[in-house]
């Protein structure tokens, strides 16, 4: 039974695209068939983070408008056979996305994959509402920072009212994914704690992704962080989150990068 998952946040720059790529790759690494779909029409970036930017032929809007078949627009990952990308259009306006069209594409994707992961654009405009429209579950990416938490709260409200499942009176599974978490700063009281965020949003936690230079390194290289360096702290956090998405009971930890003596002495530069 296919599951449609939307990765959303309201606020920009919190890590939706990074998280979509990392969770998608992690699920595919565990043998599931996965498609990651970019809904950020006009400002696509999932292709770049996945390292497929040179191979885009057709996009989501071409498929929605019937110019291309779904099979022609899907790009298979070069590293993992069961991981696919459906890119967004870079040139067209987001009004080119229609609810019926997106509904048709999602239905077709459901038949082909175990997981359909929709990378939402920032904001609450058409691209964002259509990305969540047909979702069964949602990952709300949140930074431990006031404006991000406020926007997450807004998105939770939209998920509970504007999605197809909500309108039918069905439940939509919502999960908070905390990204860019700095345990040291939280300990010093400079950053909202996990407990604060969860209490405010009263939504269950999917995982805690520590702030790490590995995330920038992975996007520089065009590789989801779980593939780029599976042993790194953010990769381990994403791999654990992916297992929780599959319903496994995985204890919640905040992985940290073990630094070697040389790194400690000389301080590794960021990516």
């Amino acid at each position: 039974m296919a599951k449609v998952l939307v990765v959303t946040s309201g606020k920009g720059g919190v890590g939706k695209t990074t998280s979509t790529a990392a969770l998608g790759a992690a699920l595919a690494q565990s043998g599931q068939s996965v498609v990651v779909v970019d809904f950020d029409v006009g400002l696509r970036n999932l292709d770049l983070v996945m390292g497929a930017e040179r191979r885009v032929v057709f996009d989501l809007i071409n498929v929605v408008q019937g110019v291309a078949k779904l099979s022609q627009a899907l790009i298979r990952d070069k590293r993992i056979e069961t991981l696919w990308l459906l890119p967004a259009s870079q040139t067209r306006d987001k009004d080119a996305l229609t609810e019926d069209g997106v509904g048709r594409v999602i239905k077709e994707l459901r038949a082909k994959f175990d997981w359909v992961i929709c990378d939402s654009p920032a904001g609450i405009e058409r691209g964002a509402t259509l990305a969540m429209r047909f979702a069964d579950a949602a990952v709300i990416v949140t930074n431990p920072e006031v404006s991000s938490v406020r926007d997450s709260d807004r998105m939770i409200g939209l998920l509970d009212s504007k999605t197809e499942r909500a309108e039918k009176g069905q439940r939509i599974d919502k999960h908070i994914l905390i990204t860019r978490y700095d345990a040291a700063r939280a300990a010093r009281g400079e950053m909202l704690s996990i407990e604060d965020v969860l209490e405010i949003l009263s939504t269950p936690l999917l995982g805690i992704i520590p702030e790490s230079e590995e995330v920038l390194r992975a996007s520089n290289l065009g590789s989801p962080v779980t593939l780029c360096n599976a042993a790194s702290a953010p990769a381990r956090a994403y791999l654990a989150a992916a297992r929780r998405l599959k319903g496994e009971d995985v204890p919640m930890t905040i992985p940290n990068d073990k630094k070697g003596l040389l790194d400690k002495l000389f301080g590794r530069r960021a990516a």
């Binding site: 770049l48 930017e53 040179r54 191979r55 885009v56 032929v57 057709f58 291309a68 078949k69 099979s71 022609q72 870079q90 040139t91 920038l216 390194r217 996007s219 520089n220 290289l221 065009g222 070697g260 040389l262 000389f266 590794r268 530069r269 990516a271």
Partner: protein
Amino acid sequence: MSMFRLFRRSSSAPIARERLQILLAHERGVRGQSDLLTILREEILAVIEKHVPIARENVQIKMDRGEAVSLLEIDVEVPNTAGLLLSA
């Protein structure tokens, strides 16, 4: 200092820079005028369609945009009956 670099992984920023340069060169081209690769793709398909009835779903198109050279690969399934139609 160079001795310590041995223990460091090679930096990823130059790779990011190169990827972006290639991508943006193509995208800026698109804004000014249509992407050459896309024009070629559409015109080649139009020429084939003029002679052979092809179903679009039997066409596989791959593109790989490079700095010096780009690759356009069009794989068209031509039904064997098409030749008969043309010679008739």
